[in-house]
């Protein structure tokens, strides 16, 4: 399971230390070494490798300047991969957000079945994307899947063989797995809304729908931004699911950036161009995260308590 790197609100480190920091500093070293070795060094490495023409057969790594970048940027495959990535991102956001929001509001308020529902809703998040993709692949098989067995023409389409449908399936399966996670986030957000606001609205004669749009939705602004950031940035890294479900196909219909990188690097053995794609992946992710953060204003964490 790949859950997006969470953009969690953070507090600055508090001054609990009595100034004897010398004796604790060493405790940070093991984590630092591990993370620098396999997180920071590779991040620098991927940039450096994008200026080489390394292939896995050769021992040495020849420096070739901007060659990889030129080939990637002039390749029509890149705009296509960006487009597919954007489509999956936008469609899955559009699909997941209303449902998660609705479910989150529902589960936060529902008393009787809440715990049972919350438990069952969460199950898709536990399954590996490999398992989920294999299941849907079998389920949607036009000849032997659910549609064929039930004789329902709607289900009996060639879901993974048609470009448009395949993209839709990817979006649906992604949503199937991650809606529970975002429901959880919204559930938490709703619980933070003070009940006094609803009481006041009720006294003013506002109905349920009005309350939802005038209180719940505006109060959840920062929750929506947090959840959207996770969805959007996370969707850049969808790999397992697409690879097992469609392997980027049919044709290149679901060949998103991460899939494109894998195919160039580990299938075509062009590590330089693949590294360039990886750099683009990082840059797009950073730009999106920063953009969404600006959208939410600087201080998303404290404002959840506003109006108490």
């Amino acid at each position: 399971m790949t859950i997006a790197p969470p953009v969690v609100q953070t507090a600055p480190p508090s001054a609990t230390s009595g100034g004897r920091s010398g004796s604790v500093t060493w405790m940070a070293w093991p984590a630092l070494v591990a993370f620098v070795g396999f997180g920071v060094v590779p991040l620098i490495g991927v940039l450096l490798l994008s200026f080489t023409s390394w292939n896995r057969l050769s021992q040495d790594i020849p420096f070739t300047g901007l060659d990889s970048w030129r080939s990637v940027l002039s390749d029509p495959g890149l705009p296509h991969a960006l487009w597919v990535t954007f489509l999956i991102m936008a469609l899955s956001w559009l699909f997941q957000t209303p449902i998660s929001l609705l479910l989150g509001v529902f589960i936060a308020a529902q008393k009787r079945y809440r715990s049972v529902l919350a438990v069952l809703f969460f199950v898709p998040l536990l399954l590996s994307q490999a398992a989920i993709s294999i299941t849907y692949k079998a389920l949607l098989d036009p000849n032997f899947g659910l549609g064929a067995g039930l004789g329902w023409p709607f289900l009996q389409q060639d879901w993974l063989g048609d470009s448009t449908l395949a993209l839709g399936v990817v979006v649906f399966v992604v949503s199937w797995q991650f809606i529970p996670f975002h429901t959880l986030i919204y559930q938490g957000g709703v619980r933070q809304i003070p009940a006094s606001m609803y009481e006041a609205a009720q006294i003013d004669g506002a109905g349920r729908v009005r309350q939802f749009f005038s209180i719940t939705l505006p109060q959840l602004k920062y929750t929506i931004i947090t959840s959207s950031t996770l969805m959007v940035v996370g969707s850049l890294t969808f790999f397992d699911l697409i690879w097992v479900l469609t392997a980027g196909g049919p044709g290149d219909a679901t060949r998103a950036l991460a899939v494109d990188m894998y195919q160039r690097g580990f299938k075509a053995d062009l590590m330089g161009p693949a590294s360039a794609i990886a750099v683009i992946l990082v840059l797009v992710g950073l730009a999106l995260a920063l953009g969404l953060r600006r959208l939410g204003g600087r201080d998303a964490s404290s404002s959840q308590l506003e109006g108490v």
Partner: protein
């Protein structure tokens, strides 16, 4: 110090009754809730019943009806195809990476909370881990592959363990740091008065008070590593080194004509994690909510 109690207390209590009566008539939400439940459960139900069907049954009968003559044959078949080995591999990789990752993250979180005020270095470390949250594993997989080759660890379980360990650190440090920060300053002071070392304070004071968060972080990272696909795909090659998700994938390619067997293997790989979820779900859900909303 129990996080669950804290979050419960934060929930708006005055007027709760009226609010909940009001919300009970959320028809649209209720409808969406039950519909989505069907969407969630239908594929799972289908996997389970199909995994007990014989092949001819699978093609012939209504796919949503339970098997007419349930069979364990598919499970026997999967278990005979090295399932146990892949299971053991997955356990080794998960325990071998998450255990050390949580331990070093806890130490780092403690150091950052205790030492940041006086140490520019520790503030920098904290900043680095925060930035590290934004590095996607997929984007750095090529250099990781190169490093693993240079370390001559390609096609070993260690090749999966090391990057898994590293990538579990940033989020763990963040969540654990938030919890260590809640330990009252006075308790640290009194430990110091008693002459305890920082190492002693870490274990005897911070560890018990942070335990709920430690459990949550362990479960969460365990889930991530257990389900990991891209690292074993790229860093191993021989069947002996496969972990469950990868084994599932190659099994599917190999036996795609035998869907009930493939689905039995899906059930078998999911069963351990589902069992753990049923046991630890309260902890996981409350910890996740607290960890993400802090």
């Amino acid at each position: 110090m129990d996080k669950r109690d804290v979050s419960r207390a934060e929930r708006p209590s005055p007027g709760k009754k009226r609010g909940s009566r009001l919300r009970h008539h959320n028809f649209l939400g209720g409808l969406a809730g039950w519909l989505w439940l069907i969407v969630v459960l239908l594929p799972i139900y289908w996997i389970v019943i199909t995994s007990f069907k014989v092949q001819s049954d699978y093609y012939a009968t209504n796919p949503l009806l339970p098997p007419t003559s349930p069979t364990l044959e598919n499970y026997r078949f999967v278990l005979e195809n090295d399932f146990v080995r892949y299971f053991v591999n997955s356990v080794i990789v998960t325990v071998g990476s998450v255990g050390p990752a949580v331990l070093v993250s806890f130490m780092a979180a403690y150091a950052i909370v205790r030492g940041s005020a006086a140490s520019r270095f520790l503030r920098g470390v904290n900043g680095l881990f925060l930035m590290g949250l934004a590095i996607p594993l997929q984007a750095v997989i090529i250099p990781i592959y190169l490093i693993i080759i240079k370390l001559q660890m390609y096609d070993t379980l260690g090749a999966i363990i090391l990057p898994s360990l590293a990538f579990a650190i940033p989020l763990s440090v963040l969540v654990l740091g938030n919890f260590v920060r809640d330990v009252p300053k006075e308790l640290f002071e009194s430990m110091r008065m008693d002459g305890a070392t920082e190492w002693g304070t870490l274990w005897r004071l911070a560890f018990p008070l942070t335990r709920p968060a430690l459990v949550t972080v362990t479960i969460y990272q365990g889930l991530t590593v257990w389900n990991g696909f891209i690292l074993p795909l790229i860093l191993t090659q021989s069947p002996e080194q496969r972990t469950l998700p990868l084994a599932l994938w190659s099994f599917q390619g190999q036996y795609s004509v035998n869907i009930p067997a493939v689905l039995a293997s899906v059930v078998l790989t999911t069963l351990p994690i589902l069992t753990l979820y049923i046991i630890g779900r309260r902890q996981l859900l409350s910890g996740l909510t607290a960890g993400f909303s802090k």
